[in-house]
Symmetry: C2
Subunit: 209 residues, 2 copies
């Protein structure tokens, strides 16, 4: 798998903390041409993130920037910004990046940081969204692609996709069903952003066709 570079592609970075299955979905979409991105960098805050190997094998530059090497969140975020700027990154896609981002990062990249969350926000923000959904007893869950703001999963929504919650579901089976939808929705929604098709009115996004 190679990261095809073409003129007009938007330079992005993908931030991960673990296996990065959504990162892999974005890499595949870029390679196949359905995501208009030049993936300049896959960055992890954890050295043992399994997704780093995938990115490396796909010929994408990888970088580990451990939060443990920085005294404060703000220090970490300033270093993050420096690395992303050095790589010429314009947009940032979070893919299981388990860090709260501060204004030091979200200021410079305002409106250009996108995340995917495994629930139909505003229900079940934060960690263990699938377990939260099961414990609450909803009959429908899904995933949400949204712009990142300084709240926890409170940013403006770009796209959502639902899945049923089945009577026999446990956290693993529900998570797998949602993840399959995430892997489809994230490249599509991110591509809409990168192609300039998403405009924002209040908190609502409008998709230009």
């Amino acid at each position: 798998m190679t990261n095809v570079m073409a003129p007009g592609r938007v330079p992005i970075a993908i931030l991960i903390s673990g296996r990065g299955t959504n990162m892999a979905a974005l890499v595949r979409a870029a390679a196949s041409g359905t995501l208009n991105a030049d993936i300049r960098l896959v960055l992890s805050n954890k050295a043992d993130a399994a997704g780093l190997e995938f990115a490396d094998a796909a010929g994408i530059r990888t970088l580990v920037l451990s939060h443990r090497d920085f005294a404060t969140r703000e220090d970490y975020d300033r270093a993050l910004v420096a690395h992303l700027r050095e790589a010429g990154v314009q947009y940032v896609a979070l893919a299981g990046f388990m860090r709260i981002l501060t204004h030091e990062f979200l200021g410079p990249f305002a409106g250009r940081v996108i995340n995917i969350h495994p629930a139909i926000l505003p229900s079940f923000p934060g960690t263990h969204a699938q377990k939260q959904a099961l414990d609450y007893g909803v009959k429908v869950s899904g995933c949400t692609v949204h712009f990142v703001d300084e709240g926890t999963d409170t940013g403006i929504i770009i796209a959502q996709q639902t899945v049923p919650v089945l009577d026999g579901d446990d956290e693993d089976s529900l998570s797998a069903r949602i993840l399959a939808q995430e892997n489809e929705l994230y490249p599509q929604a991110l591509n809409d952003v990168l192609c300039g098709r998403i405009s924002v009115v209040g908190r609502r996004t409008i998709r230009k066709s």
Copy 2:
């Protein structure tokens, strides 16, 4: 339209405050035999509720019990219970009944009061759920049938159905799309309850087939 009575039907009341389109959907489902209910009473807290005429025309007993005639919520709820008991009601379906119910009502009818809400709970509880959804900018909304507890739309969920939120939607167009789903979902979900097909484990409901 007649309210067909058959042996084995569960005696219920429907509580309304306005036009009662979901009440009408339940009345139609009972008449057609898809809702295993004997609708003994349609009760409104407002004398001018348009739904009263529909119920009357369908041959169902109607009653106005104005909250203005009672000093406290508890007094009102005790009167409500007295009327429902006198009518032999076992289950109560709320259909746009704009009153917060107290323990005086929910104690005697514990686990036997059902409501429908125009959002995918736990998102957007309370009034103006459709406007809340539009203002938040979700891409999916819908409706939820749930058991009623003493919180505001916090009860255990029986069924949910989604609808898309479209870019051009206003409160009216989204409300109409959700209402069409409500009118389908409510009779089905209530029938599952009345037929004893719904069991509760924690906060999750399981549907026996």
